[in-house]
């Protein structure tokens, strides 16, 4: 579920608006650390986690907005590198900041009292994320993004506020990445800068691409598959040899050859045409 949220956040900016961002992990980390610190140092109450999570998400969204102002002067690969750089900066800051445990990681984050609460709140947030992003995708705002995705110059000539739409989309995307990060922190109870490395961004990106860039339901389904698949493969009767990490990439490669547009392309699972 957390993976699905992370992927949804990224999918909105990369899939719908076609702005290739590799900064996911940075925003996830911001959300995670903010919410973790708030609960541990200030609130001390598990039932306030949804609130701190939203604050964490807002911090992340604000950071996203600030980052987007200079970086959306760039396009394509260059944008990807800048956002990647941002994620790296965030990671390095947390790595050297003693207050949040620096390289040791941040321990003893408030956790949910039991699993049903965890599932209930995370699930609700996932539904919220999904609904909001899906509604935005099919709205006027979404149509602006699709248009600038297809042809920025034409969109601009048609009166679309291109720069503003991109910034807004990036802010929304980082907001939900941050929210996912907060859920992640409270789920594990321990976070360290190491877990927010580039690998996390790649994982999130794989989910988005596999589900179909621009397909919100695709992201959710791909997240479910990609989270469950390693566990299913674990039970393969292969004796002592661990072939999981061989089968898994092969499946991914096959998938990309057979359906390069992802599971659903741009469509949602319920779209008929």
């Amino acid at each position: 579920m957390i993976n699905a949220m992370m992927a949804l956040g990224l999918n909105f900016i990369t899939g719908v608006a076609n702005q290739f961002s590799l900064g996911s992990a940075g925003f996830i980390a911001l959300g995670a650390y903010t919410s973790a610190v708030l609960t541990k140092e200030f609130f001390h109450a598990w039932y306030l986690i949804p609130l701190t999570a939203l604050i964490g998400a807002s911090v992340s969204g604000l950071a996203g907005y600030l980052v987007s102002i200079p970086s959306f002067r760039l396009k394509g690969d260059y944008l990807a590198i800048v956002t990647m750089g941002f994620a790296e900066i965030v990671r390095v800051i947390f790595l050297n900041w003693n207050y949040v445990g620096a390289a040791r990681g941040y321990n003893g984050i408030m956790k949910w009292p039991d699993f049903s609460w965890a599932y209930f709140v995370t699930g609700s947030f996932l539904i919220l994320t999904f609904t909001i992003l899906y509604h935005l995708k099919i709205s006027c705002f979404g149509r602006n993004l699709w248009a600038l995705n297809e042809d920025e110059i034409a969109a601009e000539v048609m009166g679309t506020p291109v720069a503003r739409s991109k910034r807004t989309a990036f802010m929304i995307s980082s907001f939900f990445s941050g929210l996912a990060g907060a859920m992640y922190a409270h789920h594990l109870g321990y976070i360290s800068p190491g877990s927010f490395g580039f690998l996390m961004t790649v994982n999130v990106l794989i989910i988005s691409v596999l589900g179909g860039l621009g397909s919100m339901s695709g992201s959710v389904i791909a997240a479910a598959i990609l989270t469950a698949l390693p566990e299913v493969l674990r039970s393969l009767p292969t004796g002592d040899i661990d072939i999981r990490m061989i089968v898994f990439p092969i499946l991914l490669i096959l998938m990309m050859i057979l359906r390069p547009q992802g599971l659903f392309g741009r469509k949602e699972i319920w779209d008929t045409k």
Partner: protein
């Protein structure tokens, strides 16, 4: 006071004054001035590299002129539009099409038009996230308005097709419809007849004359196809090497020596 108001009414819709732009050492446009009266159909022609598209791009906000003014009259107020961004230029009433068609290929025909229309009716996020009544109503209105517009050009039957699946001629048409959907006063067409056969060109001619009357538009046209330009334009401005060399009715232009020179070279002038 009334004199002043009258004055403004009589001034041109678009006025271009002493426009200059160079790319590095190349002077792409030098001291070009011309104007466009309301409801006029003006053709801008010239050999390759004469600076036609550069002038277009300056008007529509993609290039910034080194010096000179672009004045546009909107709501009886003359505005300098040199420094506006393309989306702002569109908002004050100038729409354009492109030499190479730039539709949103993966979007439906309807969405292409609706995108252009919706810029006039912005909807708050709040409304789109919660799908309020206001949002649904606006969307429905936009959709109906788009369909009506498409119907005028009998494109409504294709409204659910992807734009990229239309034929070349229809794509051109759709691009013009999309530009119209932004409700412009001035429509700029960049080589609309490029790559068209004779029948398609004839249709296009009818289409341009039709929209000019029906939507009460002023049209600025860049074109290579001489026959097309001569038959449709009321007035023609000729550019060569970044400079304006002639300005007049099609008949005047046909006789103009420097125009013939620019197109055919000096010798043929001697032969005439």
């Amino acid at each position: 006071m009334s004199d002043f108001a009258n004055n403004i009414k009589n001034t041109a819709l678009l006025e271009i004054k002493n426009l200059n732009l160079s790319f590095g050492g190349i002077k792409a446009v030098q001291n070009v001035s011309f104007d466009l009266k309301e409801n006029e159909l003006l053709g801008l022609i010239g050999p390759n590299g004469a600076g036609k598209t550069t002038v277009f791009n300056m008007i529509s906000g993609f290039y910034r002129a080194d010096s000179g003014d672009i004045l546009f009259q909107s709501k009886n107020v003359v505005k300098k539009i040199n420094d506006l961004k393309p989306d702002a230029v569109n908002k004050i009433g100038i729409a354009r099409t492109f030499q190479n068609i730039r539709l949103f290929g993966q979007l439906s025909v309807l969405d292409n038009v609706q995108l252009a229309l919706q810029q006039r009716a912005p909807i708050a996020w709040f409304d789109s996230i919660f799908r309020t009544k206001k949002y649904l109503q606006t969307e429905l209105d936009l959709k109906n308005e788009s369909l009506e517009l498409l119907k005028i050009f009998s494109l409504d039957v294709l409204s659910n097709e992807k734009a990229s699946q239309l034929s070349y001629g229809l794509q051109r048409k759709l691009e013009i419809v999309r530009a119209l959907a932004t409700k412009p006063k001035l429509l700029i067409l960049d080589e609309p007849a490029a790559g068209m056969n004779q029948t398609e060109t004839d249709d296009l001619k009818k289409l341009i004359l039709f929209i000019k009357d029906h939507f009460n538009l002023t049209v600025l046209l860049i074109e290579h196809d001489m026959k097309f330009v001569m038959s449709i334009c009321e007035r023609i401005v000729v550019l060569n090497r970044g400079e304006k060399i002639a300005d007049g009715t099609p008949t005047e232009i046909k006789k103009n020596n420097s125009v013939i020179e620019a197109y055919l070279g000096k010798r043929s002038v001697a032969n005439v």
